[in-house]
Assembly symmetry: C2
Homo-oligomer: 342 residues x 2
């Protein structure tokens, strides 16, 4: 029996998470759900806290988390995302953010050249350090002489373990992305860890290195050449939104926040809370449902994961999907269409 | 009379800079050139220095700089770019990096949807602070417990002056890009400076805000919706390579590193030294020549700048260009074709 903490969050989060949970339930596996519907922006605004320590302990006591999205236009504080999503990533040491981008149907590619549309890659994003550590401060706040500092921190432990993971999941090639020609201390550390890992890996996989600016360019020019991209927290954030767009937009992108050592994972669509379309029943549940498939695979239900992925692929191919993918179904109808294929 | 320091640099830098200088010469303006051919990786490798203080003073004594590219596969030190290009940007306080992306011909767009191909935008990149300040250090170097730190620094002076510049050059709209939901000290400062600037600007221009991950996504989804994007040094680096790719690749992208207060500027193609194609005469000179046009405009030769831009547009439209743009000309032939239109 596996227990799944469910945090739907804000905006379209609850709408898409509902379909993901329904998909998991339809599989009749031995899963137990612990619903934390109250961890959201509404509570942050009224009670000044979104996730209490008790909530956090409930999450930690589970085997994994199914997460929706955080973000609300009424919340101006930069603390909110930090205290929910980033707290979970950092305190549970979910050091890998595994973000696959797979083109489900040729019509979803924004690219002109048919030979370059076929995307099947994974961005492996370091998920616990870099610019996201939350270390820094402000001098002379609010004066004309204000100075704001945010520390980017990279450790050998953090960099080498995420590179090792990238080598483990790669099928053909690993490309390391940094900006060591400008941001030197972290850059040098990434390059050294990279050299060691490539030497250790031998010739099994092709390896390459790109500066992040060149990587953004190459991903638009020809994403079909990539297999696994490994990079830091900030570049991984940016490049994985870019790759999501190359396979049909944010509606389809799934992600797994993993600690490969403990086996704990948090699974969430890459999209945000999308307040502009929340409550209209038009949000695409595919990102959330494919995240549930990643959850299944990580918890030992590999066949069920594959079944969900195939159900998603066949409904999307047949146009039984939401408007962003060229269909005309609502969130709930799209979820139901996928479950009908299981 | 205006004096132009010329630093061709490495790889394809000398090849494309030669065409840019020839273009400027063909205009028979009152320009004087000071050639610093020796500021390059070869000298770094033999003498341990690429740009001496004397070189730097020669540059400073000029009115502006025409720059090629820095970077060489034999140089593994992360110091090299810092001591040449980044030193010039930081010490000459060239706080604006102005990077236009204009689609010269519809065939150059990588996008499938004809309605979204029409890109005419400018990335205004903060060019003196952020992650590029070079402040940081390493603890326990080379041990398993190594910690590398790089400080991102944003100042009210730095942020507000680049936002002001963005408002001055915008025609329709300004979009501010940050990551204030995760990188909080600098993020909050950017947001405050942004609120003040939008209040001051009134309703003349449309304004919007995007997180950097969403900006990367929107730029692939529909770049035609953007006018001016203003952002920090690191995000500007990444997004401007992305936008270059949306208008035909690195071969066409030009940039101006400016201090709008002193009038000093450094003009360079966005592309790097491209060692893989250096010496073959196939590099595209358009990025360098359009950078020379930006130089002309900044130095008071607006009509000449427009003439160069039109000559580039008409040769590219006619297919008289290098292979990356669908033509079959060499670097030199492409340069000559452009000069023939002047
Ligand atoms: C060479 C490198 C340090 C530089 C930068 O990142 O600024 C380059 O990529 C650019 O964009 O001009
Ligand atoms: C909400 C935000 C802090 C988060 C991030 O940047 O990590 C999101 O964009 C993501 O990619 O999961």
């Amino acid at each position: 029996m596996k227990s799944v903490a469910v945090i739907p969050g804000d905006g379209v989060g609850p709408e898409v998470t509902r379909e993901a949970v329904a998909t998991l339930e339809a599989l009749r596996l031995d899963l137990k759900f612990d619903h934390l519907d109250h961890v959201n922006a509404g509570r942050w605004l009224t009670a000044g806290v979104a996730m209490t320590d008790d909530d956090f302990e409930r999450v930690r006591a589970s085997d994994c988390v199914l997460f929706g999205a955080v973000g609300d236009p009424r919340v101006t504080s930069v603390e909110y995302a930090r205290q929910v999503l980033l707290r979970l990533r950092l305190e549970l040491d979910l050091y890998v953010n595994h973000r696959p981008a797979l083109l489900l149907h040729e019509r979803l590619s924004p690219l002109r050249d048919p030979d370059r549309r076929n995307v099947d890659l994974v961005v492996v994003r370091e998920n616990t350090e870099g610019l996201y550590v939350g270390v820094g401060g402000v001098l002379r706040r609010g004066t004309p002489d204000e100075v704001a500092m945010d520390q980017e921190v990279n450790t050998r432990l953090g960099v080498s373990r995420v590179i090792d993971y990238a080598f483990r999941v790669a099928r053909r090639a690993v490309c390391m992305v940094d900006k060591s020609n400008a941001v030197k201390h972290g850059g040098q550390l990434w390059r050294r860890c990279w050299s060691e890992a490539t030497a250790k890996a031998g010739a099994r996989l092709a390896t390459s290195h790109l500066y992040v600016d060149a990587a953004a360019m190459r991903l638009v020019a020809d994403p079909s050449e990539f297999d696994v991209i490994v990079t830091n927290n900030s570049y991984g954030d940016i490049l994985s939104d870019l790759t999501a767009q190359l396979v049909g937009g944010m509606g389809v992108a799934a992600s797994a926040n993993l600690n490969p050592d403990t086996g704990f994972g948090l699974f969430e669509p890459v999209h945000g809370s999308a307040p502009d379309i929340a409550g209209q029943g038009v949000a695409n549940p595919v990102g959330a449902i494919l995240s549930a498939a990643l959850l299944l695979r990580s918890q030992g239900y590999g066949d069920a994961a594959t079944a969900v992925e195939q159900a998603v692929a066949s409904t999307v191919a047949a146009g039984r999907c939401t408007p962003d993918l060229g269909g005309s179904l609502s969130t709930e109808e799209a979820g139901r269409a996928i479950r009908a294929e299981l």
